[in-house]
Symmetry: C2
Subunit: 292 residues, 2 copies
């Protein structure tokens, strides 16, 4: 999809509503404040202890006890809950939204979420999915960072039926937080992240699970290479369970094809075909060098 | 093997010889200088351009045109060449070594090297293998660091026939550079590093090779998680070819068992057995948290 961001003047957002501020949600709010993207920032958290903390934080202008109350006067709502809570939250706030309110999210999978969001009555609110490729194995507001999205990719996933003006507003929003945006269909998005995010996670988790079965003292001999390779395995299992469930087919496909590649290098090593091993290492190195 | 490092007084080393100073060799020399571990540091490099540079560096007291000349007056020789050049270099210097000279290396595999080193005449020089678990995907003297070994593990791999006093001197050497030492047989070492170093490398390289076959623009969407997971794939393919060749059986075993684990998570996902997926993610996370 070709979108000309300059075809529409940038309109500052009067009120942004952040639902469920964890690492990503709090970072969105902090980035909004730092970059003067929103006039007011409304926040809802399901934990009363978090709401008490929020009232003291400079990036939160108003705290609300319910998602509905937080969202009703907002021009843009960003749902920052785990993937399995995004649609329930959207359905909960929908009746209260002003006409023209845009809703987006930060979920790691998009097909199910975007299709379900579009299935109901669209008179109140318009949902366009987003996935900022930022974050870390750390979770929670305590690790939030106003620069989390700076120069990081953010994939925006409209449907065929999404209005271009709405897509542009969502793209402008992420760009104003410093992100580098691109547009994909929800299905393209899910295929891509199955490969570049979910597969690496499962590989790292499996490696840790595998090594966990080995003698205790081996761990003390780990080099920084092993630490890098396995860092993402420290991610929250409950969050990853929801991601895996909501992108199961693409993940299965990616994992199965990756296993073919791994078996190929295993066979080359077994057969002493070192030319093939070196060719694979060289192609891998070339790809990795392009990542930096 | 139980070794009491305090059973023998620490004797400063008059002359340390570094053969083939790349990242590790130059770091050993810099650490020797910084920690006043050696009276003199003798260095040989096979490249005349490197020898010209070495003459200007403060951590190098004398540069020699041949390994033999560099090693002949040394009390400790550290062979820092790639694994496939260690035994050829050892055989080359052996006739020139003073009686009692200790020789060690920094090679990533140990069985073949230590067994071959012990196969010849032991009147000149005694070889005890070492593997400091330090370094990175970067190579070359330019990235050397006197603190590279600080608090990093160093595995020392004597044979059954190695004298305890020699083992202690090698352990004391690495400790004086800041490393945390341990003693393993060469075979134990090779089994361990196949799992905690060689397997992660092959996993990361395969992942890069796999993703290299995907559309060009996917790479721009990579998160820091993918960068961490694949960092080691930027290592030198020629160096890794030699490592894989010299530890083929252990690597095959580790890779095969890891594939079983990966297939197990694939099956659990396919069967919708999310309890097993979560259990695996949780065990992986617990292991990873212990690594930090």
């Amino acid at each position: 999809m070709d979108i000309d961001l300059h075809s529409q003047p940038y309109t500052p957002i009067a009120t942004v509503c952040i639902l469920a501020p964890g690492l990503l949600g709090a970072s969105v709010a902090m980035a909004c404040k730092k970059n003067r993207v929103a006039g007011k920032i409304h926040v809802w958290s399901r934990h009363s202890s978090t709401r008490a903390k929020l009232a003291e934080l400079n990036w939160c202008d108003n705290v609300f006890p319910t998602p509905l109350a937080a969202a009703e006067s907002a021009d843009l709502v960003v749902i920052c809950a785990p993937v399995d809570f995004i649609i329930p939250l959207y359905n909960e706030i929908r009746p209260a939204l002003k006409p023209g309110t845009l809703v987006t999210d930060v979920g790691s999978t998009k097909s199910t979420i975007c299709r379900q969001a579009a299935s109901g009555d669209e008179t109140n609110g318009t949902f366009i999915g987003s996935h900022p490729m930022a974050g870390s194995e750390k979770t929670g507001m305590a690790h939030a960072d106003p620069d989390l999205f700076l120069n990081r990719p953010c994939i925006v996933t409209p449907l065929e039926t999404s209005e271009e003006s709405s897509i542009i507003r969502i793209l402008q929003f992420w760009k104003s937080l410093g992100a580098v945006t691109c547009v994909k269909t929800p299905e393209e998005h899910d295929e891509i992240v199955a490969h570049i995010s979910h597969l690496p996670h499962l590989i790292a988790s499996s490696l840790c699970h595998f090594l966990d079965q080995k003698p205790e003292d081996w761990i003390q001999l780990a080099s920084s290479g092993l630490m890098d390779t396995t860092r993402i395995a420290a991610g929250d299992p409950a969050m990853w369970k929801a991601i895996i469930e909501s992108n199961r087919e693409e993940i299965q496909r990616a994992l199965s094809k990756y296993q073919d590649d791994l078996q190929r290098i295993q066979s080359a090593i077994t057969n002493g075909n070192m030319a093939e091993v070196v060719s694979l290492l060289e192609k891998g190195k070339k790809f990795r060098n392009r990542l930096d």
